[in-house]
């Protein structure tokens, strides 16, 4: 859907096509991530470490863990996603690449979207992949696995898109790990609620389909609105 949109936009532009710029930005960000390696490994490891703190701090007892498993996984995902957001625009800001992006002739919406997509591929996807393993460690009932993965697949991009706004707003600040959290966490509460409700529903009697549909709607809304807000925020921060 977005590709067609991009294509559509690109026919309007006379000189250089937005779709080329979109793809080239995507490629570049993925390249940077692969070169740094840590960008990929770290959200993953952070997620694992945080999840494994719970059995240590709360209880090693499987049955009691099972009760809190869904919540623990989701909170850890939230924190991992939030921490990884820091990478999104910072180094580009510091070395001036962000200015170049703003001065490009293409709609900033697509440039931002491209950065968000590559960021999710690098930091959100690995976490989704790791989730079943951790769910197992926390003794989450088997029947909930599929829902967990589905809800994470839908939920993590929303978290990235929302986080992107906060990062864009704070990109010029020296130390912003915390202010980022303070802005992002309250905004992520709805995702957290529906994510855990979906997983819990698939354990109990209910059906998770309704929640997942709701999350899909949230995803669609944030895909179309959040990059706009991020783009506006970037323009504000750079000036």
């Amino acid at each position: 859907m977005f590709w067609t949109l991009v294509k559509l936009m690109s026919t309007d532009m006379s000189r250089s096509s937005t779709s080329v710029a979109f793809r080239s930005t995507l490629k570049r960000d993925l390249l940077i991530a692969f070169k740094k390696k840590n960008d990929i490994a770290n959200p993953f490891m952070f997620f694992i470490i945080v999840v494994s703190l719970f059995p240590i701090a709360i209880t090693p007892d499987g049955d009691r863990l099972a009760e809190i498993a869904a919540g623990v996984v989701w909170i850890s995902v939230l924190l991992a996603s939030m921490l990884s957001m820091d990478n999104l625009y910072r180094s580009d800001y510091e070395d001036g690449s962000l200015e170049q992006l703003l001065l490009s002739p293409h709609p900033l919406f697509f440039m931002v979207l491209s950065k968000n997509i590559s960021h999710w591929l690098v930091s959100g996807l690995p976490v989704v992949v790791a989730a079943p393993l951790l769910a197992y460690m926390l003794s989450l009932p088997q029947e909930a696995y599929l829902t967990l993965i589905a809800s994470l697949l839908i939920g993590t991009p929303i978290l990235s898109l929302i986080g992107s706004i906060a990062v864009a707003l704070t990109v010029g600040l020296g130390s912003r790990g915390l202010i980022l959290a303070v802005i992002t966490l309250p905004m992520s509460v709805p995702v957290l609620i529906f994510g855990t409700l979906a997983v819990e529903a698939s354990v109990g009697v209910g059906s998770p389909a309704g929640y997942l549909a709701l999350m899909l709607a949230m995803l669609a809304a944030s895909l179309s609105l959040a990059p706009l807000a991020s783009a506006a925020a970037l323009r504000i921060s750079i000036s």
Binding site: R15, S24, R28, D95, G96, Q100
Partner: protein, 222 residues
């Protein structure tokens, strides 16, 4: 040292201009933190013109350049591009602009080639051969595969400057592009600026040093 009495005097001696007015400022006014940086500033940058922005530290050179590029909107007055307001023809304007600021826009983890592949593709499609040739011309042969954080300050500056030569754009806005360049590099950049102007482009450049560019105009911010 910064003039506490902020009056800007624009002295473009408008004799040896060749082309049409490309970029112009009209009654520009800017203040930051209660200090008026410039007011009633007028200038016309013509096709084929090189304009040096001069002024002591803190006189507002960087601020003016960012205003012109649309990176700073805390000003009053009008900036126009071929006679019409910049904001009305942003597409055209940004398709014609190269800006290199204090932060050069070179990612530290990427190699020079990878950096240019991206930043040039924002303006037009480019091929690797041109990139590599330009890098070699700028004295970076042998560094194509080194990540940029291992390059010296001057070498990073050269990577940024390569953009000017790869994408042909009409307007160059360069904020202290000569810092960290060695004398050879300075000479080469001067030549590039001159030949760009001769082929109908326009250049606005700040530097605190004497430039060796014939026919250059000066805009003095005091």
């Amino acid at each position: 040292m910064s003039s506490s009495n902020p009056t800007a005097t624009a002295v473009p001696d408008s004799e040896n201009q060749q082309g049409a007015v490309m970029l112009s400022g009209n009654k520009l006014f800017c203040e930051r933190d209660d200090r008026v940086l410039f007011q009633d500033l007028d200038f016309n940058l013509h096709e084929g013109e090189v304009m040096q922005l001069r002024g002591s530290n803190g006189s507002g050179k960087t601020t003016l350049m960012r205003m012109l590029c649309g990176l700073n909107d805390g000003y009053k007055g009008e900036i126009s591009w071929y006679g019409a307001s910049v904001s009305e023809q942003a597409g055209d304007f940004y398709h014609s602009l190269h800006y290199i600021g204090h932060r050069v826009g070179v990612s530290k983890v990427l190699t020079p080639v990878e950096n240019l592949r991206w930043s040039c593709s924002l303006k037009s499609e480019v091929d690797d051969q041109l990139i590599e040739k330009t890098l070699a011309d700028l004295g970076l042969r042998g560094y194509e595969e080194s990540p940029c954080h291992t390059l010296s300050a001057g070498q990073q500056q050269r990577v940024a400057l390569a953009r000017l030569l790869i994408n042909p754009m009409k307007l160059w806005i360069l904020d202290e592009p000569f810092t960290t360049l060695d004398p050879k590099g300075v000479k080469q950049l001067e030549e590039n600026i001159l030949s760009h102007a001769n082929s109908g482009g326009a250049v606005m450049v700040t530097t605190h040093h004497k430039l060796n560019i014939p026919g250059m105009n000066v805009l003095d911010l005091g």
